[in-house]
């Protein structure tokens, strides 16, 4: 899994049936310093994550299908699997209560 931050949502009416009634969250990937790496992914929300929240992003198909109950053939790979409350890197707190510390 990777750490990311919810920055945008993708609004879509024409989509794979798999995404019906699901939110698509555009998330920046974060480095160990809590800053965006420049890469992003669009992940299916599975935890009701909100704007600006630091989240756990799972980018693996089988696990994603299992979480969404779309086995065996859901065309999905990235899912927001958790909301990060705290992230500590080498003893230093990088994320607390869902926010990246400056």
């Amino acid at each position: 899994m990777k750490i990311g931050r919810v920055v945008k949502t993708v609004v879509s009416t024409i989509h794979n049936p798999l995404f019906e009634d699901r939110r698509l969250l555009l998330c920046d990937y974060l480095g160990t310093d809590g800053k965006p790496t420049g890469d992003y992914t669009i992940a299916v929300d599975n935890v009701d994550a909100g704007a600006g929240e630091v989240v756990l992003i799972l980018d693996e198909g089988n696990s994603a299908r299992q979480m969404l109950g779309k086995e065996p053939d859901g065309a999905v790979r990235a899912v927001v699997a958790g909301i990060v409350d705290e992230l500590v890197v080498e003893g230093a707190v990088v994320v607390r209560d869902g926010d990246v510390l400056e």
């Binding site: 993708v10 609004v11 995404f19 992003y40 198909g61 053939d73 065309a75």
Partner: protein
């Protein structure tokens, strides 16, 4: 999944068994500000409605084949939705 813009269509009369009827589109990857980011890829159109100029989102790797009618096919990128808007969460 990544954002992309459809910039062209690909016609392949001769293709692998199971890919008949699948539309292939040339998709330019986009960053989150919808600016071009990277080399275009040929993607299967998993929604059958995407067309040139549209902003779409696509899935890569093995999961792409799962967006096709026949799921055991050699496809590595597939469009799984058309983005109406990419807005602040």
């Amino acid at each position: 999944m990544q954002l992309g813009r459809v910039i062209g269509t690909v016609v392949a009369t001769e293709c692998y068994e199971g890919l008949e009827g699948v539309n292939f589109l040339l998709v330019e990857p986009l960053d989150k500000e919808l600016q071009p980011a990277g080399e275009p890829v040929v993607a299967a159109d998993g929604v059958h409605m995407a067309g040139p100029g549209e902003v779409v989102y696509f899935v890569a790797s093995r999961e792409a084949a799962l967006a096709c009618p026949e799921t055991f096919v050699p496809v590595d990128h597939a469009i799984v939705g058309i983005a109406d808007a990419v807005e602040d969460a």
